[in-house]
Amino acid sequence: MSSKEPGCEAMLTVQDLTVVFGSGRSRLTAVDGVSFAVPPGGTLGLVGESGSGKSTIARALVGLVPTAGGTIRLDGTDVTSDRARDARSFRRRVQMVFQDPYGSLNPRMTVGATILEAVSLQGKASTAERRSEVLRAIELVGLSPSALDRYPHQFSGGQRQRISIARALAVHPEVLIMDEVTSALDVSIQASIINLLKELQRELHLSYLFISHDLSVVGAMSDVVAVMYLSRLVESAAPDELFNAPEHPYTRGLIGSVPEFGVKRRRAPIPGQVPDPRFPPSGCRFHTRCPVGPAHRLDREICRTDDPQTAAASRPHSAACHFAVSVAAPRG
């Protein structure tokens, strides 16, 4: 994808990012050579199943876990070192919103104090200035200033998620990293949060890295969707292209697994389980479950032996598949 030429076009560029947990026998490469770029004022959607490493990418980007390799650039500036991403100058530009609306706000601080914490770290001097910053943040997310006096438990899940967004916006960031921000919400609330995020993006020219396991939500949010499987990126494309002409068999299976209203379901398109990420399969990591892989076609031994990642950049959608081919997703 566009990250082939790292640089000035993208807001946030990640090249060959690798994150490793543990050592010895419990060594786990949670993110393995992932490259992508978040467009300025646009959204990169990252989708994958549990254990694919998508949340780890988010945590690594904001410095919550150390990286083991690769480069990270913010608007052209190298911020690869963990120290660079710990600096206030970085935190003012890149913020994160978390999944759990019940767990991501300090229950012992009022909403106002929580947002004030973010404002103070920006270094605003006078109390009046800080107060107006707090009011600005809470109004941006569509809550009334009377919310500031109350504690998190006095709000519903959707309102709490708005508060979390307000806290992140209080530092005037340019990039917002969002990890499953709608997953814990009811359907009717989820739609209003998505609308809010889109409006904020337009008004404040924010760049989003939007992470979710839900293909429909990622599709609704993103300009580019990247699909992860077992610590790696397998394909990325604009959502329309990805949904209508997926190149990678895993993407096809994933799209086919999403229940769609009123469309008669076919048999489960991907058999088996995600392998243990500590011991990933050789060659193509998907070959153990691939419906068009060596388990079904004798002439495809290459999938067991050769890593399709190496030539991915030269294929359409950067698909990490030796036999990448556009086939309309099985959707009724």
């Binding site: 199943e49 549990s50 945590r59 904001v62 410095g63 919550l64 710990d86 994160m96 999944q99 300090n106 229950p107 012992r108 601080m109 009022t110 104090a113 914490e117 109390t127 109004e139 941006l140 569509g142 809550l143 009377s146 006096d149 109350r150 504690y151 438990h153 006095q154 519903s156 899940g157 979390s164 806290r167 530092v171 009811d186 359907v187 009717s188 989820q190 739609a191 998505i194 609308n195 904020l200 008004e203 396991h213 839900d214 293909l215 429909s216 939500v217 599709g219 609704a220 993103s222 959502p239 329309d240 949904f243 299976g253 697994s257 999403v258 229940p259 769609e260 209203f261 379901r265 389980q273």
Partner: protein
């Protein structure tokens, strides 16, 4: 985006800039008032008694030794004729000061040690935690004696020794609590904002563990008083002519045969202090936690009077004869914050043999509680009303044993989270065969053979090996297969699947839905009730759908009707709000305004009216009954506005 007009109330207090407004919370608790009064008594005595009673407490009067209880000496006198009551009162000051000092040392050292262990990393953390564990193994009293002796006997030595001895349990509690909240998202969020470690510790970690620490502090003051007493008894604590309650107590106990009241005085004083301090601790802990004293979302609104009973249309007639499950006017009531709350308010439906019935709704709609009540799993504190008929037998008519047997044979439940629904301490085989062995009295080998067959049915390879596995050795999808296999052990007529795939990945979800379909279309043609928040999933797998909102069914319709002609505004809104893969991205998504109402205090009239786009005046006052649609006998709908549904 709804940007609210600048500041709606300019004069409103900006209390969010202050930290806690907790004093009032402390005082409004009954334990707070009691502890303030008791503390005032203690402090008053400690201040005043030495001023007025010192003479009586220290004057010796050999002639009056061992006087009994009387008007002159309320608790008698000691060997030197000193008034015991006066001595107890006068000793209050020294005792409390010593206890307080020891408590302060222990909490200070303990919290510091504990936090140090919690924030240190890798080997340092392990070493510190193990060191704390080792220190905890030494009896505190021994350590106090040892440390007291090192610090040179006397009062100061005793205080330091006891403080040191008591700091280790506090350190262990602190480190355990701090580590347990270390992974919370609000800690991560603060770190992403750039909150520095010290501030993180004092604004985030400590406040969230303060409740337990306050209690630990007051308990360590009490222990301090007792330990110093013990040291005094051994000659390491207070030395004559100083005296504290511990000294008085040991003297009194030694002479209990001569002057029984001599031990009683200090004992009562110590007990009173302990009680006061633990009350204080409880009230302080409450004041530390705003969740306990600010109104929650639930309590803020006063509950409106519940409307009188609304006639509920009987379930639409099922094809294929006798329904396998019939529920009439089911009401589930549970205790709430301000009184009993109906969380299921008169639900009626029927399930035909071989039917897949979907129940959809958002959180708090009562969909799960409906199913749990049918399965006899309503919370024990709640009550269940209405009639449930399973395979032709009314559950209310059965004895406890008959009911258990019927439910075990005819009805199974598969829960949302397979990892918490399986007992982690038991092997899969034991859990699968439990019901068969107890209810159907199968022998062990027969039950295991049956379990292996069922695992094969749910497509688990090498079932004999998996029966010996523990749940944690299986993946999430495998665990859910095991749950379903367990549910099939008795070949039930009805399988209730409560959000069976919500905790699973989407590719595994597709596999599990295949499996449920197989069960439904298999030889037994088991009826399935599929509870889900996901309308797409329901639309792909169900024959009939109940849409629930706020404890009631708002629409009951066929799959075809759901796909082509949903009538209730809520059903329509829910469908519109669903994100569709590959759907248009430019236009904003359809939303349902407002919030899901609190089921304990629903809006008057139709509970959906505040969020409804087509509500009329009548919707705000009258609850629409669920009625069979006059032109469409296979549909029930509860709406004043839907044509033909208004009564």
């Amino acid at each position: 985006m709804t940007i609210t007009a600048s500041v709606d109330k300019p004069a409103q207090p900006k209390s969010w800039l202050r930290r806690h407004v907790a004093v009032r919370a402390f005082l409004t608790a009954p334990s707070g008032v009691a502890s303030v009064v008791a503390l005032a008594v203690l402090v008053g005595v400690a201040v005043v008694a030495p001023l007025y009673l010192d003479a009586r407490a220290t004057e010796t009067d050999i002639a009056g030794s061992w006087a009994g209880v009387g008007a002159d000496h309320w608790l008698g006198t000691d060997a030197l004729g000193r008034d015991t009551f006066a001595r107890v009162m006068v000793a209050t000051r020294l005792t409390l000061l010593l206890g307080l000092a020891a408590g302060a040392i222990s909490i200070g050292l303990g919290v510091a040690f504990g936090l140090l262990a919690a924030v240190s990393r890798g080997r340092w953390r392990t070493a510190l935690l193990r060191g704390l564990d080792a220190a905890l193994c030494i009896p505190a009293i021994l350590m106090a004696i040892f440390a007291g002796a090192i610090f040179g006997g006397g009062v100061n030595g005793a205080v330091v020794g006891v403080g040191l001895a008591l700091c280790f349990p506090i350190a262990r509690i602190t480190s355990t609590l701090a580590l347990s909240i270390g992974g919370r998202e609000y800690i991560s969020a603060a770190r992403v904002l750039g909150v520095r470690p010290l501030r993180l510790m004092f604004r985030y970690t400590l406040p969230n563990i303060s409740e337990s620490l306050v209690v630990a502090f007051t308990l360590s003051i009490v222990s301090g008083v007792l330990f110093i007493s013990a040291l005094s008894f051994l000659g390491l604590g207070t030395q004559a002519p100083e005296f504290d309650w511990g000294g008085l107590l040991s003297e009194g106990v030694a002479n209990i045969a001569i002057a029984p009241a001599g031990a009683l005085g200090p004992a009562i004083a110590i007990a009173f202090t302990a009680l006061t301090l633990s009350l204080t601790g409880e009230a302080l802990a409450r004041a530390c936690n705003p969740v306990l004293w600010t109104s929650s979302r639930k309590q803020r609104r006063a509950a409106p009077p519940e409307p009188t009973a609304v006639p509920v249309a009987a379930p639409a007639e099922t094809e294929g004869g006798e329904p396998v499950l019939r529920v009439d006017d089911l009401v589930v009531t549970v205790p709430g914050a301000v009184g009993p709350v109906d969380i299921v308010k008169g639900v009626s439906f029927a399930v035909a043999p071989g039917q897949v019935l979907g129940i959809v709704g958002e959180s708090g709609s009562g969909k799960t509680m409906t199913a749990l009540a049918v399965a006899g799993l309503a919370p024990p504190s709640g009550t269940v009303g209405g009639t449930i008929t399973l395979t032709g037998r009314r559950l209310a008519d059965l004895s406890k044993a008959e009911l258990d047997a019927l439910l075990a044979r005819e009805l199974s439940v598969v829960f949302q989270d397979p990892s918490s629904a399986l007992n982690p301490a038991l092997r899969v085989g034991v859990q699968m065969t439990l019901s068969a062995r107890i209810i159907r009295k199968l022998r062990r080998s027969a039950a295991y053979q049956l379990a292996a067959a069922k695992l094969r049915d749910v497509h688990i390879g090498a079932p004999d090996r998996q029966l010996k596995a523990y749940p944690h050795q299986l993946s999430g999808g495998m665990r859910q297969r095991v749950m379903i296999g367990t549910g099939l052990m008795a070949e039930p007529s009805v399988l209730i699947a409560d959000e069976p795939t919500t905790a699973l990945d989407v590719t595994v979800q597709a596999q599990i839905m295949d499996l449920l379909e197989e069960i439904n279309t298999g030889d037994r043609s088991t009826s399935i009730i599929l509870i889900s928040h996901n309308l797409a999933l329901v639309s792909q797998n169900c024959d009939r759908v109940l849409v629930m909102y706020c404890g009631r069914i708002v629409e009951d319709l066929d799959l075809d009707q759901l796909l082509t002609d949903p009538k209730h505004p809520y059903t329509r809104a829910l469908l519109a709000a669903m994100p569709k893969p590959g759907g248009p991205r430019e236009a904003p998504m359809a939303t349902i305004g407002g919030e899901v109402p609190d089921i304990a205090a629903p809006p008057a009239g139709c509970p959906f009216h505040p969020r409804c786009a087509v509500a009329v005046d009548r919707c705000r006052t009258d609850l629409p009954p669920l009625v069979i649609h006059p032109e469409d006998r296979a549909r029930r709908v509860a709406c004043h506005v839907v044509e033909g549904a208004g009564v």
